[in-house]
Amino acid sequence: MRWPLILLALVCGSTGIAEDVVKGDFELLDHHGEAVTERSFDGKLRLVFFGFTQCPDVCPTTLLEVAHAMRRLGEDAVNVQPIFISVDRKNDTPEQLARYVAAFHPSLVGLTGSKQQIDAVAASFNVTYGVEPAASGASAPDSVFHSAYLFLMDRQGGFLDVFGYGTKADVIAARLREYL
């Protein structure tokens, strides 16, 4: 005989829902060199991803899924703003970002900023990143790591949901449609 699973809840204190984990504020430069904040995209849902243009796998893979999701939305895609925030301020100039984002989707915006600004936006999204400089004289690029979450933000920049690394375009598009 297989016993039914008995789930006994012994809740103490608050349920501890971490609603304020992601705030979503920023002051950065876009890939045209223009200053932007989270209010610059008001009226549109946003997909926000952190990374760096020399990332070999996680960033291009995720941005490809974002681009596919945008294409699946058809005309509704005009109501969604995909945003790529670089944590590699040393290498990812606005010019470099412009070339990079254009390879994925015409509406993808690349953002960068000073160290203080990048630290601030990372803290606001509860994102971690780090840059380990390459050894002196080494041909390899700096070693950069970063959180791999894709954030879905509402039309005022408030947090709605998060997608994990590996989430497919159809899942992202379906979730976006719930809010369009």
Partner: protein
């Protein structure tokens, strides 16, 4: 002889991976599907983590002893009890095609590299360790005289394997060029845990149960840099996905210790569950779910260790997996034949799948939030 054996099956492998690339999607979504082996039923259970349901049962010819999965290969790699072969299951084919992969060793442990292209295979009795690249039909590494009771850990690029040998208290590595390193870390039989590597690949953390310490190793110099005092009889550390902390279940007591990976300092040791064996981080690395050997779960804030909710699973758990979106923790409970889902954001029990065999093993997931443990 080994090369000939591989060559004999190479045509089949070429067909297997060609088919994998061309076929329509089935269970090859590495973030969505988890896989659980049961030897008694000769089955692999496919779990849909999005729907929290049993999606499929894959019946095998032989009893599986271990299972690992690669999204890049779109394949399951299944080891068998006392059998010198693996079974590869094509997850992208509609009929989940299976082929045999012969070995000249018994695969008592199978570990997928982070890159998802290579697999480490360990024959515990023979002390033989091999790394295979299935797509290239190549054996990249074959070494003998390897001894361990715990799991192997790959470097971030898959070029090096790390392990501890508690029988002599050593920490060891071997790279794909068969260069080996070994350092004495503790007295023999000190209760060294398996290794947890930091997210950036720079450090390794190993608990020493008898001394109530965690060793921090600089992997670039292969040297111990710090001995961190934690609670009673620490088990294997669990890293947060954002790389900030190693969370250590202090199995001899009722506490969890958080270690800063940046400074190597213990940030706190906080009350949790009795005899914790695992600490799963989730919900954007803000929540930790400590699990005890008797099946209690305590949710706490990662930053200060404060427990906000406790639950009982009513059975001894295996290690859990956290989905890549950090929302769901799935824990197998073999004695109840169940897989229990916990909501990491709400810090609550969500649902469960029941009716699984009573010998289910740990869940394998290609893209997990706590993959590198």
């Amino acid at each position: 002889m080994f090369t000939r054996a591989i060559a004999r099956y190479s045509a089949g492998l070429v067909l297997f991976f060609s088919f994998a690339a061309a076929a329509s999607a089935s269970f090859d979504d590495g973030a969505r599907y988890a896989f659980i082996a049961s030897a008694s039923s000769k089955s692999i259970f496919v779990i849909d983590l999005r729907e929290k349901s049993l999606a499929q049962t894959i019946v095998l010819e032989r009893s599986p002893s271990s299972v690992t999965v690669s999204e890049r290969l779109k394949a399951l790699v299944v080891g068998h009890v006392d059998d010198r072969r693996l079974t590869l299951v094509d997850l992208s084919s509609s009929d989940l095609a299976q082929i045999d992969y012969p070995l000249e060793m018994t695969p008592s442990m199978v570990v997928m590299s982070p890159v998802g292209e290579t697999v480490a295979i360990f024959d515990k009795e023979a002390g033989r360790l091999e790394v295979h690249a299935f797509r290239r039909r190549a054996v990249l590494l074959s070494v003998n005289d390897v001894h361990t009771e715990s799991e192997f850990t790959f470097s971030t690029d898959g070029s090096t394997l790390y392990w501890v040998d508690d029988s002599n208290g050593s920490f060891n590595s071997v790279d794909l060029w068969a260069e080996r390193q070994s350092i004495a870390l503790a007295e023999p039989e000190s209760g060294l845990s398996a290794i947890s590597r930091s997210v950036d690949g720079m450090s390794a953390f190993i608990s020493e149960a008898s001394a109530d310490v965690v060793h921090m190793i600089d992997l670039s110099s292969f040297a111990p840099v710090r001995k961190i005092h934690v609670g009673s009889r620490p088990g294997r550390p669990w890293g947060t996905a954002d790389g900030r902390y190693m969370l250590v279940p202090n199995n001899g007591g009722d506490t969890v210790t958080a270690i800063s990976t940046m400074t190597g300092a213990a940030v706190y040791t906080a009350a949790s569950v009795d005899h914790p064996v695992a600490v799963n981080p989730g919900w954007l690395d803000s929540t930790a779910a400590a699990v005890s050997e008797s099946g209690y779960v305590a949710f706490s804030d990662v930053d200060d260790g404060k427990v906000t909710a406790r639950f009982q699973l009513n059975g001894a758990p295996l290690d859990g997996i956290v989905t890549s979106d950090s929302k769901t923790l799935a824990i197998p409970v073999p004695e109840r034949g169940s897989l229990v889902f916990l909501d990491m954001r709400q810090r609550s029990l969500s649902s469960s799948i029941t009716g699984l065999p009573l010998d289910i093993g740990p869940a394998a997931l290609a893209i997990s939030n706590n993959l590198c443990h």
